[in-house]
Symmetry: C2
Subunit: 213 residues, 2 copies
Amino acid sequence: MNDAVSSSTTSFAPEIEFWFDFGSNYSYLSVMRIEALAAAHGVRIRWRPFLLGPVFRDLGFTNSPFVLQKEKGAYVWKDMERQCRKYGIPFMRPGTFPRAALLAMRVALLGADRQWMAAYCRKIMQLNFADDRDIGSAEVVSEALEELGLPAQQIIADSQGDANKLRLREQTETAAARGIFGAPTFFVGEEMFWGNDRLDDALEYCDSTGTAQ
Amino acid sequence: MNDAVSSSTTSFAPEIEFWFDFGSNYSYLSVMRIEALAAAHGVRIRWRPFLLGPVFRDLGFTNSPFVLQKEKGAYVWKDMERQCRKYGIPFMRPGTFPRAALLAMRVALLGADRQWMAAYCRKIMQLNFADDRDIGSAEVVSEALEELGLPAQQIIADSQGDANKLRLREQTETAAARGIFGAPTFFVGEEMFWGNDRLDDALEYCDSTGTAQ
């Protein structure tokens, strides 16, 4: 749980923590948008994959609120179509929602500090929300890594190690402990911003904190 | 229930339907913003007060989700502070939330097509979300109307007539029938937009529909 205070360590660039799950449709929008926006603000992205399912269950939800509340669910897919059109992001409603993608998430945790992280996340998200592929399968995760020119089998094997599995559970517990109740969620220091609709505000808040670059 | 199709009647200006409840904090943001924004787009506002409480109850909620989900509730008030600062809107967290304001809502329904509607709505909303006054009381509603130079007692009496009471119940049923699950909600024709965060998108959608002015 020491993770909870890691954002307060000294850094030379302002930092935004990006908490997300590959099954989350609004996380898709942020995965596709955050790199260019963060670069424009001179902000470093700290990628924080976590499992939204256990967080929802802790809050008493047996599934995504978009599934449990059919009126909201019906709206959300219309909203996604419009939002994707607005941002120029491809979109096709997934045949399964929400898609559990445990292996893909473990790979994301392993890759969080690696050069390929952003491209990997975009690839997995597009497979889910633009190509309607089953990102829960090892084949699709492997395909995604290979298309990025990465050693897929090695990365997948590493991601399935006990230490990495445990870290993903711990990161999910940290999410709950910090008050996260949905995804995407952003933190700038201890200031929390929920939803793709607050990504720009979170980055503007980075500017206002005036961390030396 | 004929109300449900009223937006398709011929009109010379594009129109945005604004569905709101005085107890809803995100409706506060839209009440304070919509007039200037709609004017800038040349869009007419169709004010649609409805009772969010019965809609929530129909959906299975015993209270506002911001009360039922304490993590989300804690976040929402931080978000409101930041949003109000961003838009230059005064804010003080109400001592009671959500505030039922049946009389104020009945007056809003009565005033929906009158010149004083926008100013009245802003006044009631500010009393609730900036001054922490009990907008559920007849005294506060009366004070609001008087400050606008209106015949408070006459308006209040009219609003309590059976026909107006029934209309508010019907308008609330129409809201549910149209798939509304929260407030504020906007309609442009049959296109639904949920939340203050989508007000700008809804107005841009008005532009794109190309209704002759």
